[in-house]
C-alpha cells in the first residue's frame, strides 16, 4: 500500500491537478453562490439574513473536518513513523485555519441582526474560538521547530489536545444552554431545514471542500519541491 506514497508519483499528480481542481471549484462555487444568494428562498423569520448561513455553516464544517483529519493523520503518522502523513497534515492546516476565521466572522455578522449582539461567550462560540487557538498553535509549531522529529511530536500532541475540543463544539448546543441554536441537519433524524435551503448549503460545502483541496495540493506540492531540492530530506 505504501508504494503509492512514492514522492515522484505523488508529485506528478500534485503538480498537474490544481488547475483542474481550480476549474471545478469555479464552476461549483458559481452555481453555489447563485443558488445561495439569488435562487434560494428567504427564511420565514430571518428573511434575507439567512443567506449568511450558506457561508457560515460550510466553513464551520470544513474547519472541523480538516482538524479531525489532521489529528488522524498525525496520530497514525506518529505511531507508524510515516513522515509523509505529517506533510499532508501541515499542508491541510492553512485552509482549515482560514475557514475557522470565516466561520467566526460570518457568525458574528449573522449574530448582530438575529440575536442582537456581535459576540456572546456561550459554549459553542467560545469552543470555536479555542479551536482557532489550536490551529494557531499548530501552525506556529511548524515555524519554530527546525528539528523534524521534534516538530512531529509537538504537532501530534497539539492535535490530540485540540481534538478533545471537537466533540465539545459539536455537542455544546445540546449539553448546555447556549445562545447558538442546535444543529439543523441531522444524519439520523429528519433535518429541520427546508429542502430548498439544503441544496445550496450542500453545493457551497462542496465548493469550500474543493477550495481546501486546491490549497492543500498547492501547499503539498511546495513541500515536495522542498524535499526534492534538499535531496537529503527523504520521506
Amino acid at each position: 500500500m505504501f508504494k503509492y506514497f512514492e514522492p515522484n508519483k505523488i508529485f506528478s499528480i500534485t503538480s498537474r491537478a490544481p488547475k483542474y481542481v481550480l476549474l471545478l471549484f469555479i464552476i461549483i462555487f458559481s452555481i453555489g453562490l447563485t443558488e445561495a444568494l439569488i435562487l434560494s428562498p428567504e427564511d420565514y423569520k430571518q428573511s434575507h439574513s439567512v443567506r449568511i448561513m450558506y457561508v457560515h455553516v460550510p466553513a464551520s464544517w470544513i474547519c472541523l473536518g480538516i482538524f479531525s483529519s489532521i489529528t488522524f493523520l498525525s496520530v497514525i503518522g506518529y505511531i507508524f513513523k510515516i513522515r509523509n502523513f505529517f506533510l499532508i497534515s501541515k499542508s491541510l492546516a492553512p485552509s482549515g485555519f482560514v475557514f475557522n476565521i470565516v466561520s467566526l466572522v460570518t457568525g458574528s455578522i449573522w449574530g448582530k441582526p438575529t440575536w442582537g449582539t456581535w459576540w456572546a461567550w456561550d459554549a459553542r462560540i467560545t469552543s470555536m474560538l479555542i479551536l482557532l487557538l489550536f490551529y494557531i498553535l499548530y501552525l506556529v509549531a511548524w515555524r519554530i521547530y527546525d528539528n523534524k522529529d521534534k516538530v512531529f511530536k509537538v504537532t501530534t500532541v497539539i492535535t490530540i489536545l485540540g481534538i478533545i475540543n471537537v466533540p465539545i463544539i459539536k455537542y455544546s448546543v445540546d449539553w448546555w444552554n447556549t445562545l447558538h441554536q442546535p444543529a439543523s441537519i441531522n444524519i439520523l433524524s429528519k433535518s429541520s431545514i427546508h429542502i430548498s435551503m439544503l441544496y445550496p448549503l450542500l453545493i457551497m460545502t462542496a465548493a469550500f471542500a474543493l477550495f481546501s483541496l486546491l490549497i492543500f495540493l498547492m501547499k503539498y506540492n511546495t513541500e515536495l519541491i522542498k524535499i526534492k531540492n534538499k535531496g537529503l530530506d527523504r520521506l
Partner: protein, 139 residues
C-alpha cells in the same frame, strides 16, 4: 504483528488522550454553572438565594404576554414549567417575538420579576421559506 515500539507509541498516545479527556471532562463538569449561557425559569426557581450579580435568563416569550408601554417592554419568559416576568427598556432585536426564544441579561428583583438590561433573541434551528410556514400553519 507490529513492533514493540509501535505498540508502545500507540499506548502512549492512547493514555495521553485518556488523561486529557478526563481532565477536561472534570473541569467542564465543575464549571458547568459558568459554561451555561443562561438559566431557565426552573433553574431560577431552584436558586437558594437571590444574587445581586448580573445573570442571564432564557426561555420562550409567552404567547400574548408582550406589553409595550412607551419605552418599557413587559413580557413573560417561560419554559412551560415556570415563568418569570421581565421588564426592559431599550433596543429590541428584530427577531424578538411572541412564542420565540429569548435571552435576557440583567438582575433578579425576586423570583418572579427580572429587570433586564439587555435582550437577545434566540432563534431556533428551523429554516423554511415563508410559503412553507404559511402552509404549515394552515394545517
Amino acid at each position: 504483528m507490529y513492533g514493540r515500539k509501535v505498540k508502545l507509541r500507540f499506548f502512549y498516545i492512547f493514555i495521553i488522550f485518556l488523561i486529557l479527556s478526563l481532565t477536561i471532562f472534570l473541569t467542564l463538569k465543575s464549571l458547568e454553572e459558568n459554561v451555561i449561557y443562561f438559566q431557565s425559569p426552573t433553574d431560577v426557581k431552584a436558586l437558594a438565594e437571590i444574587d445581586k450579580k448580573k445573570i442571564r435568563i432564557g426561555g420562550m416569550v409567552k404567547k400574548k404576554s408582550i406589553l409595550i408601554k412607551e419605552k418599557e417592554v413587559k413580557f413573560v419568559v417561560t419554559d412551560f414549567k415556570n415563568e418569570i416576568n421581565v421588564i426592559y427598556s431599550g433596543l429590541i432585536p428584530n427577531l424578538f417575538a411572541e412564542g420565540k426564544g429569548v435571552v435576557a441579561e440583567g438582575f433578579l428583583k425576586d423570583k418572579s420579576l427580572f429587570l433586564a438590561t439587555k435582550i437577545l433573541a434566540k432563534h431556533d434551528e428551523n429554516y423554511m421559506p415563508p410559503e412553507v410556514k404559511a402552509a404549515l400553519e394552515e394545517k
